[in-house]
């Protein structure tokens, strides 16, 4: 056994010995959302409060230490809406919306006396019950946190904690016990499909890269999560960066790469920092670098910060960006597996895909196959947001229905103010700008790669935006089209010009200039852009338009034929209306109306003739009683 192999076990043992001496562990969530709500202040306040009681506090366990309280800052725990989150172990007490001034009470009751601070517990809005432990909260109860498992439990910046939890043993197995081909086959047999959106078999991708003859091969982790509405990669990189590294190590071994890049979005500064620290710490311990686990194989990993281009999520554009060029995609073939970074065979995997890999090696193929559906095994993290009671990051096995996600985990659909809106469900937008919309009819659809593709949507990176009945679907299509049009790199004509024209047509519809021909033309251009574009960005850009056209055609028709927005959101199609109970009949509006559309007796409620009205909005401006609405 080599020296490095002994190290892991010793670190594990030392850490566990130290942990046994430690009576309590306080974990404060330090994901982006909780930090924004002040969790770092809570962390300091708790530390101070514990010290004030004369207890010994530590933030990093050393085996010789005898501490009363271990403090950890974890990565995102997913339940961002009720943060800052604080848990106390071993009782698994879960506090929500903690403020620095709560610190003394938490220490006095929970740390000193094993009691709950009732007012900080999560209250289930449906049953009104208080949930004292994480496991009792419905938001978590219905999930299967497999890949995210340790996110929010581990201190993301402590490599020893990761190792103590069994970390890097899968990588060691890959380097010392398995042959590259065996690893590729194992992952292919597990049926792991790329979590970045495309859903291509990861094992097959590796198996295509492995036989390439070259003096140099590269592994790239794609952490350029540009999808608006998605943040699962961010949470993994911030919450468990070592898991991502371990996955990369395994992938590098599987394809025979000795150098790799982790490409992280510039908009995620905390992720950049934590991944960099993870790489540095792993190098210091001798896990990364030369002679990995005594196998004679070297592996050097670099962190590269992106610079804000959605198109860099595309493999070939990402490669161009690492090489210091504009992030423009190249036609495929040749695929990166043959000719990638600097012209060498390259394998690019998504963050979540790589984070899943160590679990397959550690737990075996069968355990992985037990999750999910036959064609889409495993679990998937989704970013559940929009008009839903519980927003946050969730992980469920493939095959779970939309209804279960929206109602059981999400707690139901809400109005704009956040109150539950019975029967308010309108749609779920899935997969970001590449995806599509699901409707009421799809509530019982099992979510997996193939079922979503069959209705024109896709898993994408996993953003799930719930929309209530007050959302205008034409505007949503317009929103995504504006995004893709902005982000199009401009290299190929169908994408550059096509998305621009589609956006213009959608604007026509929203602003009341559309006719039935507009819709037809929109559909024709959409199909041309999808067929003719060079890369995934353009190929999938029409999806939001096509699915909304397919499932919400009535709304489009209402916009162009009746010049009416059914959701009442499109300003240009607004129809002013005078509220009878508010109007006192002063007659000011009718005097100011430039087209004499308003009539009514003095001191009686007035009314507007919709056929004459030009929607100039003067009536609403001059009304002193706020009686005119809909402008």
């Amino acid at each position: 056994m080599s020296k490095q192999m002994l190290n892991l076990e010793r670190i594990q043992k030392d850490y566990k010995t130290a942990l046994k001496k430690c009576k309590r562990r306080i974990v404060v969530c330090a994901g982006t959302a909780c930090v924004a709500n002040g969790s770092l202040e809570v962390f300091e306040a708790l530390k101070k409060a514990v010290r004030a009681k004369g207890l010994k506090v530590d933030v990093k366990l050393e085996k010789h230490d005898d501490v009363d309280c271990l403090f950890s800052r974890s990565g995102c725990r997913g339940f961002c809406q009720v943060g800052p989150l604080v848990t106390v172990e071993p009782s698994d007490t879960h506090y929500v919306k903690v403020k620095p001034e709560d610190a003394d009470e938490i220490v006095e009751k929970t740390i000193m006396a094993d009691e709950y601070v009732e007012r900080l517990l999560y209250v289930d809005p449906v049953t009104g019950e208080k949930c004292s432990r994480t496991a009792d909260i419905p938001f978590y109860k219905r999930q299967d946190r497999y890949v995210l498992g340790n996110c929010g439990r581990l201190d993301a910046e402590d490599i020893n904690q990761y190792i103590a939890d069994g970390g890097y043993t899968a990588a060691r197995m890959a380097y010392t016990e398995l042959e590259p081909k065996q690893i590729c086959d194992m992952v292919e047999k597990a049926g792991l499909r790329g979590r970045g959106g495309g859903g291509f078999s990861t094992g097959r991708k590796w198996n295509l890269t492995l036989p390439q003859k070259s003096d140099k091969k590269y592994i790239i982790c794609n952490g350029d999560e540009g999808d608006p509405g998605a943040f699962m990669d961010r949470s993994l990189m911030e919450g468990n960066p070592h898991r991502v590294l371990e996955g990369m190590m395994i992938a590098a071994r599987a394809i025979g790469a000795d150098e790799g890049y982790i490409y992280v979005r510039a908009e995620y500064p905390l992720a950049v920092e934590r991944v960099q620290k993870a790489v540095d710490d792993a190098e210091k311990l001798g896990i990364l670098g030369e002679d990995v686990f005594g196998s004679g194989v070297n592996l050097k990993l670099f962190v590269m910060e992106g610079a804000g281009a959605f198109v860099c999520g595309e493999e070939t554009a990402l490669i161009a960006s690492i090489e210091g060029r504009r992030g423009m995609p190249m036609p495929k073939p040749p695929f990166p597996a043959e000719c990638g970074l600097w012209g060498k065979p390259t394998c690019i995997n998504n963050v979540e895909t790589l984070a899943t890999v160590p679990l397959i090696l550690r737990d075996g193929v069968d355990k992985f196959l037990a999750y999910g559906t036959e064609s889409s095994p495993g679990t998937k993290t989704f970013a559940l947001t929009g008009h839903v009671a519980n927003t946050g990051l969730i992980e469920v096995p493939f095959g779970v229905t939309v209804r279960e996600i929206v109602y059981d985990i999400g707690g139901g659909v809400t109005d704009d103010a956040g109150n539950i809106l019975e029967d308010g469900f309108k749609a779920v937008q899935v997969g970001g700008p590449s995806g599509g919309c699901l409707t009421k009819d799809h509530l019982d659809l099992g979510m997996d790669f193939d079922s979503l593709r069959s209705i024109g949507a896709m898993v994408g990176s996993g953003g799930l935006v719930v929309m209530n009945k007050n959302t205008c679907m034409v505007q949503i299509a317009h929103f995504f089209m504006k995004f893709t049009q902005n982000e199009s790199c401009g290299k190929c004509v169908p994408c550059r010009e096509g998305t621009k024209q589609m956006l213009k047509l959608l604007e026509d519809i929203i602003e009341g200039r559309g006719t039935m021909e507009t819709i037809e033309l929109l559909e024709r251009i959409a199909s041309a852009v999808g067929k003719g574009s060079l890369c995934g960005l353009g190929k999938t850009a029409p999806n939001p338009v096509l699915t909304t056209l397919r499932f919400f055609r009535d709304e489009y028709i209402a916009h162009v034929e009746d010049k009416r927005c059914p959701a009442g959101q499109c300003k240009a199609l607004a129809m002013p209306e005078i509220l009878e109970d508010k109007c006192i009949g002063c007659g000011l509006c009718s005097r100011k109306c430039p087209v004499n559309a308003i009539t009514g007796e003095k001191k009686q409620p007035h009314s507007i003739d919709p056929d004459v009205c030009i929607k100039c909005g003067v009536c609403a401006e001059v009304c002193k009683f706020n009686a005119v609405i809909g402008v």
């Binding site: 982006t32 959302a33 930090v35 924004a36 709500n37 997913g78 339940f79 961002c80 809406q81 943060g83 999560e225 540009g226 999808d227 608006p228 509405g229 998605a230 943040f231 961010r234 979005r265 510039a266 908009e267 995620y268 500064p269 590269m304 910060e305 992106g306 610079a307 804000g308 281009a309 959605f310 960006s321 690492i322 090489e323 210091g324 060029r325 504009r326 992030g327 970013a383 947001t385 929009g386 008009h387 927003t391 946050g392 990051l393 704009d416 937008q429 970001g432 953003g463 935006v465 929309m467 959302t471 949503i476 929103f479 995504f480 995004f483 902005n486 982000e487 790199c489």
Partner: protein, 168 residues
């Protein structure tokens, strides 16, 4: 190189040289270099881009091409406080554009002219900050504020302005 912000043009030049040397004068590290330079100068001045091109033996058009391609790089100076309004899907459906409109009106800026006359504030939209759980979100110089309303955003700006006045 003329410079109003630093003590001397020399000082600025040496910082620039240090960054380029640290990256081994490697043209493939253009993006990391631009990142670091922007962190130093808060934007990418034209003369600096030209200098980088010479140092890396790249055509200036290529350096400009890369700098203008990526949205993170700024070719115009930005205000002291850079306000990013997230317009990701989650923020959008929860009314992020109302916040943007309110701030534009408050600070008298627009999409074309995003920085205030006194160089205090820059208001921009970004596609997603990745904190969708607390939509709508804005960030000011990297600090994230969640569940913001138009009124709250204006209040935050007022507070920052008041702080500035107090500091003078």
């Amino acid at each position: 190189m003329a410079c109003q912000n630093c003590k001397s043009g020399q000082d600025r030049l040496s910082k620039l040289c240090r960054i380029i040397e640290k990256n081994d004068n490697d043209p493939s590290k253009l993006i990391p270099i631009l990142h670091e330079v922007q962190r130093e100068f808060r934007y990418l001045p034209e003369d600096v881009l030209a200098y980088i091109a010479t140092a890396l033996k790249l055509p200036p058009a290529k350096v400009y091409g890369v700098a203008s391609f990526y949205s993170h790089f700024a070719l115009e100076p930005k205000g002291k406080y850079v306000v990013h309004i997230c317009d990701g899907t989650a923020c959008h459906v929860k009314g992020s554009m109302n916040i943007y409109d309110a701030l534009c009106e408050k600070l008298n800026v627009s999409e074309e002219k995003s920085t205030t006359e006194d160089m205090q504030f820059t208001v921009e939209t970004v596609s997603c900050i990745g904190a969708c759980g607390m939509a709508p979100v804005i960030s000011i110089n990297g600090k994230v504020y969640g569940q913001v309303t138009a009124e709250k955003a204006v209040e935050i700006i007022d507070e920052l302005s008041a702080q500035e006045v107090a500091n003078v």
